[in-house]
Amino acid sequence: VEIYLPVAELSMNVFRAAGPGRSGRSAGSGMFGVGGGFLATPMLIFVGIPPAVAVASQANQVVANSISSLQVQWRRGNVDLRMGLVLLAGRHARIVGRRLAVHLPEADRPDRFRHCGALCRDAVDHWPADDGRESQHLFQAPTQSRRPRGKLHTHYLVHRLPLKLRFYKSKLYISALLPIGLGFIIGVLSAILGVGGGFVLVPAMIYLLGMPTAVVIGTSNFQILFVAANVTFLQAATNGTVDVVLALLLILGGVVGAPIGARLAAKLPGVALRALMSLLILLVAAELLTELLRTPSSLYSLGAREVLP
């Protein structure tokens, strides 16, 4: 069944359009517990969706994915709302970053660069599994065995900063300046590099703030929801590149894909899953890299058409 995508301005088979969402999510949330965008976006570009529309519509899908995951996380009590909000507040200082980004030469960056950015973002943004199963080992603080009695974790200088706030879910009593600063730095980074910042945020929440991994996952999901919603809104408002028909197909594909992946995942041990996941990421990265290095089949491409008045 062919359907015309009104913003991408081309017609495409329904299953072909939903495919990236399905495989992205079945491999992603279902199987490995990641968003799957790192697969979906390059796949969309590969099937011929204009890159700008692919990135924006995919952000729209991530909104749906993260609300689904958040439902689960919330019920398990893995979302530190207070931490999430404080981080978001810091993140909003990103406007400064956007000002900086204006001075960087952006126009001639190849699209693929941005996809590499998207890849890193998605790969790590969503890295910790939805339900956190077994991925704890990956990020567990190595100091745990030597921690002083009576304290949950080692205390550093940063714990002496003022404006202390209790984060119950995270079992932390730290200065609010820490998450705000973290949010700020990530905001600036994501504005300059065009990446989500999760690849900094997740390890930072675990190692710098000392949050429990399960809560990091839920809270990171909470973050992603807002970031993706923000990206979707801004893309729609400024560039008009969000194709809701495509996004809906991707979401529906994802809804179908998630349980397929989950069923597969149930049959495989966690180590095998993580190995598969890493392989997949490496494959996509290698593919993107060869795209950059290989002599392209056509040297020419067209920018946006401008109808002059």
Partner: protein, 281 residues
């Protein structure tokens, strides 16, 4: 569609002969409208050497579809152009999409990776360009003087670059432009020849790909005798989104903020429902 088109062809043929017999020409027929100003080449209307009268007895044409409607099920369209001419002569059909500024980007290897390093904008690039004739085109065009009918190459050679550059480089960018457009099916290299039946009835299929820019397309049919244009008719073909597609595209273009809010709400709702449903399964 093809058989329908043929039927319509015959109907027009009969109607036309009937009209001839009775005297009055087909004034009311839509195919005999004067050349439209929209979608015309940049030099304006048809030059005076072309007898482009609305009631030319020598040449009439019509299309199997009056407009291209881009609906949710649009997959590209093939339109049959048909008509009749007073023999002898040859028929040339030129279809040009609405002009716009196009920017051609060229990749170059830079420190091992391929980057878009060069760009060149051209003004008045037709969104679509197709030309067909009842004889091999080169021969016809070589004989027809005046440069009214332009092959794709000639049409593009006249493009004005938005910024000056040396001729050799411009030619390379122009070739790049054709290459990309051809890949997208917008500059079809060969739309089939115009076929002529019974010496006076002509037809040709015009292919329009699914990735079709919107606007008013200009369709021109020329009648040539011994290399001279003796008659020409032209007709606008509107191409536009209709229905749901048009609504969405319109909101996306004009009500971006509202559309963005809607997109986010849709994702939240569907994502929530999807999550809830999946939990029960």
């Amino acid at each position: 569609v093809r058989s329908l088109g043929l039927l319509a062809c015959l109907a027009v043929l009969l109607g036309a002969t009937g009209a001839w017999a009775q005297g009055p020409r087909l004034e009311s027929a839509p195919s005999l409208l004067p050349a439209p100003s929209i979608g015309a080449p940049p030099d304006g209307a048809v030059p005076p050497s072309v007898p482009n009268e609305p009631t030319t007895p020598d040449l009439i044409m019509d299309l199997s579809l009056a407009r291209v409607s881009i609906t949710s099920a649009f997959q590209g369209e093939s339109i049959l152009l048909f008509g009749m001419f007073d023999p002898p002569g040859e028929i040339v059909v030129v279809v040009a999409g609405p002009p716009a500024r196009e920017t051609v980007m060229r990749k170059q290897r830079f420190m091992g990776i391929w980057l878009n390093t060069g760009r060149q904008a051209f003004d008045d690039v037709p969104a679509y360009y197709a030309i067909a004739a009842s004889q091999p085109l080169q021969r016809l065009l070589a004989r027809s003087a005046g440069g009214e009918i332009l092959s794709l190459e000639d049409r593009l050679a006249s493009l004005k670059p938005a910024t000056p550059r040396d001729a050799a480089e411009l030619a390379r960018f122009r070739a790049g432009l054709v290459e990309v457009k051809r890949r997208e099916g917008l500059y079809p290299a060969a739309i089939g020849q115009v076929t002529v039946q019974a010496g006076r009835l002509f037809r040709v299929d015009l292919p329009f790909p699914s990735r079709l820019p919107e606007g008013v397309y200009d369709i021109r049919v020329y009648l040539l005798r011994e290399g001279k244009i003796v008659a020409a008719v032209s007709r606008p073909l509107p191409v536009g989104k209709v229905g749901f597609s048009a609504q969405l595209a319109g909101w996306s273009a004009h009500e971006g903020a509202l559309y963005g809010v809607g997109a986010v709400l849709m994702a939240l709702l569907v994502g929530w429902l999807g999550g809830a449903v999946m939990r029960r399964l």
